[in-house]
C-alpha cells in the first residue's frame, strides 16, 4: 500500500507539474509594436516570430509584427535574433500624431512604381529576345513572341488599372520619347521614384526636427536576475565572446557543477528520508509537505500561537499591569523626593507620562502585528492554491503586507531592554545630587524597582518576539514573491543604452551566443519611442531560450528502485539517488511530431544509481549502471540496470526503477528557487 501511495504521489507530482509553462499577462498593443519585427537565425535556419513559418533563407522583408506576451517566441540557445525596425512607424508629427499612414502611402506608391520599373526592365529584355528570334528565324520565336505579348499585356493592364489618374501623362511620355514607348515610361517612373524618395526624406527631416528617437533595450531574465544584453548600435555594452552551447551537456561551468552537486546531495538526503518512510518511521505525506511548504506553514502556525498569546484582551491587561508597576516604582521614587533637587523632582514627575506614551505606542504596534498575523494566514491560503492568472494580484497583496510588516516600529527603549532602561534612568539622574544617584540604585533594588525592571524584561521579551516574527514573516513573503518575480520584473533603463535619433535608426541583432544563457531563460526586448527625450510609447517582445535539435544533459533524480530478485528480502522498492545522462531531441514548432514531443519531452540515456538494497544497513551504497528513459524533460524517469556490487542475480544484480528529478520538479513548480 505504501509503495502504491509513494508511486501515486510521485506520479501525480510529475503529471501536475511536468508540463507547466510560465503564464504571462498580456500587455497592451502599442502603435510602436508594429515597428519592430524579429527573425531568428539558428544555424542555417531562419524563423520569423511569432509566425510558425520557417525558411532556410533570410527573409527579404520581415512580414510579422513583434512577438509579444502571452505567447513568447521560442528561440534556440545558439541563435541570433535579428531586429528589424520600420522607421516610419516610429515617427510622430508635431502634434504627437502617428505618421504611419503618411509614410505608408509614400512607400506604397514607391513600391508600385518600382514594381512597374522592374516589369518594364523584364519586358525590354523579352522584347529584344523576341525581335532577335524573329530576325534570325529562330524556332522558338512563337514562344518568345507569346511571352513578350503576355508580359506587355500584363504591364499595360496594370498601368490602366493602377495609374488611371496619370494615364494621360503616361500616354504623352510614351508617345513622345524618341527611344521608344518603354524607354520613356521607364524614365517617367524613375523620376517618380526620385520624387517619392524626396517626399519621404522631407517627411523624415520633419520627424527628426521633432526630436524623435528610439531606444532598444534587451535583457536576459533568469529568476529575479536581469542581465542587460548587448544590442549593437543601441547600447555600448561590450561584445562577449561567442560560446556555443555544449550539446553533450558534460562541459559544466563551476556554477553548474556546484548546482549539480547540490541537487545530487539533496536527492540523496531525500532518498534517505524517504526510505525511512518505507520503513514506517515517517509518513510520506509529512516528508512531502515538509519539503514543499515548510517555512510558510511553520510561520503561520507560529503566528497563530502569537496571536493567541497576545490576544487583544490579554495584551491590554499586560500593558495595564506594566503601567501600574511603573507607577508604583515612580511613587516609591517620589517618596524619596526629599533627597532630590527641585529640577530632578520636575524631571522625575514627567517620567511616568513619558513611559506611558512609550508603552501606549508599543501596545498600538502590538495590536497592529496581531491584525497582520490574521492577514498572513489569508495570504498563505491564497498562495497554496494559486493559479497563474492570480499571481499578479497575489504578489501585490503580499507586497502590501510586507510593507506593513516592515513598517511596524517598536519603541527603541523597550527593544533594547533592561540595560537601556537603566542607562536611561542613570542619564537623567546624572544632574541630580550624588546622593540621589545612590537613592536610585536603592530604588531599583527595592521590591517596586525589581517589579518594574521585571515588567520591562517581560515587555521587551514580548515585543522582541513579535518584532522577530514580523521580520521573518516579511522576509519569507519577500522570498515567496521572488519565485514568481520574473513574470513581473520591472525593467529599469540600462545605463549604457543609447537614444538613437530618428535618422540613425537601423536594424540590429542580439547574438545569444555571446551571452551566458541557459534553457528556460527569457529574453525581453523593449523598444521605447522618445520625443524630445520623453518616452512616447513602448512595446516589448519576449523570447524563451530553448534547446532545439539534439542535446544531452546530466539529470540527477530520486527513484524507487527494485531488485529483480533479492535473497532473504521482500524484494521491495527502495529509494535511491541516480545520475542519468539523458539525450533529447526537440523539434521546432511546426516540424513533424513537434506537438507530441513538446508535450512529452522524451529522452533516452544511461545512468548510474546509488543503491542500498541491504535493508539492514541503509548507508551501504551499491553502484548500478544501466539505461534510462524519461518523459517531461527528466521529470519522470524509468529504467533498469546492473548492480555492480551484487554477486549474483539473487543478490539484486538486475534492478528496475521509476522516479523523478525532484529538484527540477520543485523548481518547475516554483517551490525551490532555480
Amino acid at each position: 500500500m505504501r509503495r502504491l501511495l509513494g508511486l501515486a504521489c510521485l506520479g501525480s507530482l510529475c503529471l501536475s507539474t511536468g508540463c507547466l509553462r510560465h503564464a504571462y499577462d498580456p500587455i497592451g498593443k502599442d502603435s510602436l509594436g508594429e515597428a519592430v519585427f524579429f527573425a531568428e537565425q539558428s544555424g542555417e535556419q531562419w524563423t520569423l516570430h511569432s509566425a510558425p513559418s520557417e525558411s532556410t533563407e533570410m527573409p527579404a522583408e520581415p512580414p510579422k509584427p513583434a512577438t509579444r506576451r502571452p505567447a513568447p517566441a521560442l528561440v534556440d540557445m545558439d541563435s541570433r535574433i535579428y531586429i528589424y525596425v520600420d522607421k516610419s512607424r516610429v515617427a510622430l508629427d508635431e502634434g504627437g500624431h502617428d505618421l504611419t499612414d503618411r509614410f505608408a502611402r509614400i512607400k506604397r506608391q514607391r513600391e508600385k512604381a518600382e514594381a512597374v520599373l522592374d516589369e518594364i526592365a523584364g519586358l525590354t529584355r523579352a522584347r529584344s529576345a523576341a525581335i532577335e528570334a524573329y530576325r534570325t528565324g529562330q524556332a522558338d520565336f512563337e514562344e518568345r513572341k507569346r511571352q513578350y505579348g503576355l508580359a506587355e499585356g500584363v504591364l499595360l493592364d496594370e498601368l490602366f488599372k493602377r495609374f488611371a489618374d496619370e494615364l494621360e501623362a503616361l500616354e504623352d511620355i510614351a508617345e513622345e520619347d524618341p527611344a521608344g514607348v518603354y524607354a520613356g515610361l521607364a524614365r517617367w517612373f524613375e523620376g517618380r521614384i526620385q520624387a517619392l524618395n524626396g517626399e519621404y526624406r522631407s517627411l523624415e527631416r520633419a520627424v527628426e526636427q521633432e526630436g524623435i528617437a528610439l531606444r532598444l533595450e534587451a535583457w536576459l531574465l533568469r529568476g529575479d536576475q536581469l542581465i542587460p544584453l548587448r544590442v549593437p548600435d543601441y547600447n555600448t555594452l561590450e561584445e562577449g565572446r561567442i560560446r556555443l552551447a555544449d550539446r553533450f551537456g558534460l562541459d559544466l561551468s563551476t556554477r553548474q557543477r556546484e548546482k549539480l552537486e547540490q541537487e545530487m546531495a539533496a536527492n540523496a538526503a531525500f532518498a534517505r528520508r524517504a526510505n525511512q518512510v518505507l520503513d514506517g518511521e515517517k509518513r510520506l505525506v509529512e516528508v512531502v509537505i515538509k519539503t514543499l511548504d515548510a517555512d510558510l506553514a511553520e510561520l503561520v502556525v507560529e503566528g497563530q500561537g502569537l496571536a493567541a498569546k497576545y490576544n487583544s484582551r490579554a495584551i491590554k491587561e499586560r500593558f495595564r499591569q506594566a503601567m501600574a508597576d511603573s507607577q508604583a516604582f515612580f511613587d516609591a521614587v517620589a517618596r524619596r523626593a526629599e533627597i532630590l533637587s527641585a529640577d530632578a523632582r520636575d524631571q522625575l514627575g514627567g517620567l511616568p507620562e513619558e513611559l506611558g506614551t512609550w508603552i501606549a505606542a508599543e501596545s498600538s504596534q502590538v495590536q497592529a502585528v496581531l491584525s497582520l498575523i490574521g492577514r498572513l494566514e489569508q495570504v498563505r491560503g491564497r498562495w497554496s492554491g494559486l493559479h497563474y492568472g492570480e499571481v499578479a494580484s497575489a504578489i501585490g497583496e503580499a507586497q502590501q503586507l510586507i510593507g506593513e510588516l516592515r513598517a511596524v516600529k517598536f519603541p527603541g527603549l523597550v527593544l533594547v531592554g533592561r540595560k537601556a532602561t537603566e542607562v536611561f534612568l542613570h542619564e537623567i539622574s546624572s544632574p541630580w545630587v550624588p546622593a540621589a544617584g545612590r537613592a536610585l540604585e536603592e530604588l531599583l533594588g527595592s521590591a517596586e524597582g525589581v517589579a518594574f525592571l521585571a515588567r520591562v524584561d517581560e515587555t521587551v521579551g514580548n515585543v522582541a518576539e513579535l518584532a522577530g516574527f514580523t521580520s521573518r514573516a516579511a522576509d519569507r513573503m519577500d522570498q515567496l514573491g521572488k519565485q514568481f518575480r520574473r513574470e513581473h520584473v520591472l525593467l529599469t533603463t540600462i545605463p549604457e543604452s543609447l537614444d538613437v535619433s530618428f535618422d540613425q535608426i537601423k536594424d540590429t541583432v542580439i547574438d545569444l551566443r555571446r551571452t551566458d544563457r541557459e534553457p528556460g531563460d527569457m529574453v525581453r526586448v523593449r523598444a521605447t519611442r522618445l520625443k524630445a527625450g520623453e518616452a512616447r510609447g513602448e512595446t516589448q517582445a519576449e523570447f524563451e531560450v530553448r534547446r532545439f535539435g539534439w542535446y544531452a544533459k546530466l539529470s540527477p533524480a530520486v527513484v524507487l528502485a527494485r531488485p529483480d530478485q533479492l535473497r532473504g528480502s521482500n524484494d521491495g522498492f527502495r529509494f535511491a539517488p541516480t545520475l542519468s545522462w539523458l539525450h533529447h531531441y526537440v523539434p521546432r514548432p511546426g516540424e513533424i511530431g513537434a506537438y507530441l514531443v513538446a508535450g512529452l519531452r522524451p529522452a533516452l540515456g544511461i545512468h548510474t544509481a546509488f543503491l542500498s538494497f541491504d535493508g539492514d544497513d541503509s548507508d551501504a551504497i551499491q553502484i548500478g549502471l544501466g539505461g534510462t528513459a524519461s518523459l517531461w524533460e527528466g521529470r519522470l524517469q524509468a529504467g533498469c540496470g546492473y548492480n555492480l556490487m551484487a554477486d549474483s542475480r539473487v543478490d539484486g544484480r538486475i534492478y528496475f526503477f521509476i522516479g523523478t528529478d525532484l529538484i527540477g520538479l520543485l523548481q518547475t513548480a516554483g517551490i525551490v528557487a532555480p
Partner: protein, 118 residues
C-alpha cells in the same frame, strides 16, 4: 497599309505564321485613318506586328466582314497566332483613342499584345 480593293497584302500577312495583324475598318479621313497614320509614324513597333486600314468592307470576304466587324465600319480586330489566325481583341475604333480623342499608343500596343499571346 491601306486596303481599298485588293486584299492581297492582308491575305499574305494572314498567311504568315509569325505575324500579328491589326485590321482597322473605316475611312482614311476618319478615326480609323488617324489611327492607321499614327501607327505608321511609330518607329518602335515590333517587326512582326502588321496593321491595315480597310476602307471598303467589300474588299473582305463575307465571313471576314461578319466575324471581324459585324459588317460595320469604325471597328478594329486583332488576329494572331499561327495559320489560320485566331481572332483576338476586337471592338469599336474608339477603344483605341485617348481621352482627348487622339490615337492612344498604349491602347494600340495593348491590343497587339493580346494578339501576340494567341
Amino acid at each position: 497599309m491601306i486596303i481599298i480593293d485588293d486584299p492581297t497584302p492582308l491575305t499574305d500577312a494572314l498567311a504568315d505564321t509569325a505575324t500579328t495583324v491589326l485590321v482597322l475598318a473605316g475611312t482614311i479621313d476618319g478615326v480609323a485613318g488617324a489611327i492607321h497614320n499614327f501607327i505608321e509614324t511609330r518607329p518602335d513597333m515590333e517587326p512582326w506586328r502588321r496593321w491595315f486600314l480597310v476602307t471598303k468592307l467589300s474588299a473582305l470576304t463575307p465571313s471576314q466582314r461578319s466575324a471581324w466587324f459585324g459588317d460595320e465600319n469604325d471597328r478594329f480586330v486583332v488576329l494572331g497566332g499561327s495559320v489560320p489566325k485566331q481572332l483576338g481583341p476586337r471592338g469599336d475604333i474608339g477603344e483605341l483613342l485617348r481621352a482627348n480623342r487622339r490615337p492612344s499608343v498604349l491602347r494600340i500596343r495593348r491590343v497587339f499584345a493580346k494578339g501576340d499571346e494567341l
